[in-house]
């Protein structure tokens, strides 16, 4: 049944249907409502979940790690400074191969403190070892929460996963969402299979040992191997989700009018919606423009990105965060993807929307119009900035 709900509610609904054994969470704008909705479910007795109302995000992820190692299905959510505080433990969750799914309501990092959207928090967690998915809409936030849970728990993966949804643009705006029926969602996610649970006291296991140079490297290589299993699992779970929901997400990226495009944008998250309107507007004037939206950000789908962009002549990669002292993080990934492409597009890097600065259809049209006219170089260009 189609309902109008915010991104928060969409994520909270997916979590209610997944019904993890443990949710450990700490409030932070613009994520807090996810914690609040879930607290309602727990306090109303409609889920069996143990809610651990921790005293910090560091403890949220620490409790998640403890609970997951104990043998429980575990979820959490955070944003910005909360992510920064817990990132130490996120690396550990990945190193311990714990399938903890976390919604990340994307928000700028301090200083100056700012509660609005950008992707600096997601980029901070980029190398943590969690797979990351970006969502364009509340519907995607709902769908990918369910999908992420199955990828995380996939026998070949067993890694934490982050579902990114833009703060305010997605978390706080009401959109039409069509959730699955509870039964269908539960069936899709399936029962949780713990691996070496601490609570199996008959088989004592040591979790989180200390490894010297004689083993550390191999253990990290094994973790990388698990990450390399994510793309196959992602496609497999997308397919299963199409059967369960009728909504077919196919692939790591979504191309929009890319087939014959000579100019294109590359974006993450809700800006894809704005970009689609810009593309439509220019297309209606006969301009060959397109968009590449990336769902799976980590592991980065190099081949899919290369295949989608190789025929395009001019590409603007939009980063919603600075990687101080370097080109934008997404730009660097796209550039790597295109390194071996035969006919490589000219690449440009635009920084936009920091700290919640609006990004408009007109601005994106301007970027597309500019492509082909400005010389491609390793220079950051800024959208909507007063210089």
């Amino acid at each position: 049944m189609r309902r109008v709900m915010t991104g928060h509610k969409a994520v909270a609904e997916a979590m209610r249907q997944i019904e993890p054994d443990v949710v450990a969470v700490y409030p932070i704008t613009p994520q807090s409502e996810i914690a609040e909705y879930y607290a309602d479910y727990v306090h109303d007795g409609i889920v069996h979940t143990e809610l651990v109302p921790v005293e910090s995000e560091h403890s949220a992820m620490s409790a998640c790690v403890g609970a997951a190692a104990a043998g429980a299905r575990v979820m959490t959510a955070t944003s910005s400074q909360g992510l920064a505080l817990l990132v130490e433990v996120l690396y550990i969750a990945a190193g311990m191969r714990l399938p903890i799914v976390m919604a990340l309501a994307n928000r700028a990092l301090s200083a100056p403190i700012n509660i609005h959207c950008d992707h600096s928090d997601a980029y901070l967690a980029r190398d943590a070892g969690a797979f990351q998915i970006f969502c364009e809409s509340a519907q995607e936030a709902y769908d990918y929460t369910l999908i992420a849970q199955r990828i995380a728990e996939h026998g070949k993966v067993r890694l934490p996963g982050i579902v990114n949804l833009d703060g305010f643009a997605l978390t706080h705006t009401a959109q039409v969402v069509e959730p699955l029926e509870d039964e269908a969602a539960k069936k899709f996610v399936g029962p949780f299979q713990p691996v070496y649970p601490l609570l199996d006291v008959a088989k004592p296991v040591t979790w989180g040992p200390f490894a010297m140079p004689d083993y550390y490297f191999e253990l990290k290589r094994a973790q990388q191997a698990a990450m390399e299993e994510v793309p196959a699992a992602f496609l497999e779970v997308q397919k299963a989700y199409a059967l369960a929901s009728g909504r077919r997400y196919a692939g790591f990226v979504e191309g929009y009018h890319l087939d014959d495009a000579d100019r294109a944008l590359v974006v993450l998250g809700s800006t894809a919606g704005t970009a689609k309107v810009a593309v439509d507007a220019l297309r209606s004037k006969g301009e060959k423009v397109g968009l590449l939206k990336i769902w799976l950000y980590r592991p980065f789908p190099y081949h899919a990105v290369a295949a989608a962009l190789a025929p395009v002549k001019h590409v603007a990669v939009l980063d919603r965060a600075l990687s101080f002292g370097a080109m934008g993080a997404l730009y660097s990934d796209v550039a790597t993807a295109l390194l071996r492409a035969q006919a490589r597009p000219a690449l440009h890097n635009y920084i936009y929307g920091l700290g919640g600065r609006d990004i408009t259809v007109e601005q994106l049209e301007d970027v597309l119009a500019e492509l082909g006219k400005v010389r491609p170089d390793e220079v950051l260009r800024y959208i909507g900035l007063r210089e």
Binding site: V65, G71, T206
Partner: protein, 319 residues
């Protein structure tokens, strides 16, 4: 109350902490861990923050732990055990777990008094059912004997060295046991490695309660205290006899001092046997500082006597 024999018999039946570890010869930590684990009859899941105990017992691919055990980081053992316990509650509800399992943290003073204090406070306030044992050796031993907030005044540590301007640690130690008492948890106690039966009894009494339980255990470190390798027990005993480390417990808010030394042994007797305090006996100002040290010990002891008298549930003996 468990006797040494009972503890030994339990260990014979099930070795929970094996000798396969790399703690220093003469280290008091394994005695504390074994005693605590043997004092609990039910199955145990344990957790430790980063520190000597963790590093020396879990070098991959080996382990000294024969109970399920988890280490995550330095500052979060109480949060980790909160999660483990929450999982236990949830999985008991669903029927996936049927046994009664007990949860124990063994954390160093650094991981408890300092970097882990927030996580500890949060876990105590939330009321998780677990026992937190602070394996208190009064400094960051694992990383080379740096000072912690459990390090006593005057003690030399590598970040409070004996310099010409500042001789040793200027500040007094923090009273973590009393901070935990302020959380109104059902059981709080102080114990010492020299009094293992007292420790085992405390564990047994503590485990009768649901909810958070805390034990601060003086756990001598010959390396960091700069005492002979075979001195761990003697050192701990002197700490108790000089009233530097009172053995007491606070059960549901009621204080009880478990041991009151008959004689007043000056704390100097304890200080003079340790390398970390050696400078006090060489420096001309050392005498003054020893007097101050003694005054602090007396003050704490007298405070404790008063608390026992006022908050004893009525049956305080005089001492």
């Amino acid at each position: 109350m468990p006797s040494i024999k009972t503890l030994a018999q339990r260990e014979e039946k099930e070795i929970r902490f094996t000798p396969g570890h790399t703690l220093c010869a003469g280290c008091a930590e394994p005695m504390v861990v074994r005693t605590v684990l043997n004092a609990i009859e039910e199955p145990v899941v344990a957790a430790s923050p980063t520190g000597c105990l963790e590093v020396a017992t879990s070098r991959f691919p080996g382990t000294a732990w024969n109970v399920p055990w988890i280490h995550v980081a330095f500052e979060n053992a109480a949060a980790v055990i909160s999660g483990v316990e929450a999982a236990y509650k949830a999985l008991t509800k669903t029927g996936a777990v049927k046994k009664r399992i007990r949860f124990v943290v063994f954390g160093g003073d650094g991981g408890t008094y300092d970097i882990g204090l927030q996580a500890l406070s949060g876990a105590l306030e939330r009321g998780h059912d677990f026992l937190y044992v602070c394996v208190n050796n009064e400094a960051y031993m694992n990383t080379g004997v740096q000072r912690s907030s459990a390090t006593p005044a005057c003690a030399a540590a590598t970040t409070s060295p004996v310099g010409d301007a500042i001789p040793g640690k200027p500040q007094d130690r923090k009273d973590l046991t009393e901070i935990v008492v302020g959380h109104h948890v059902p059981y709080v106690g102080q114990a010492a490695v020299s009094h293992l039966i007292d420790l085992a009894n405390k564990v047994e009494r503590a485990m009768k309660f649901d909810g958070p339980k805390f034990l601060n255990v003086l756990t001598t470190c010959p390396l960091g205290w700069r005492t002979p390798r075979d001195s761990a027990i003697v050192q701990s005993k002197l700490a108790v006899e000089t009233r530097y480390w009172p053995l007491y417990e606070v059960i549901e808010g009621k204080y009880k001092i478990n041991y009151k030394p008959k004689q007043h042994v000056p704390v100097e007797e304890w200080l003079k046997t340790q390398g970390r305090f050696r400078h006090l006996f060489r420096d001309p100002k050392g005498k003054e500082r020893i007097v101050e040290f003694q005054a602090a010990v007396d003050r704490h002891w007298n405070d404790l006597l008063r608390k026992e008298q006022c908050l004893s549930g009525g049956e305080a003996d005089q001492g």
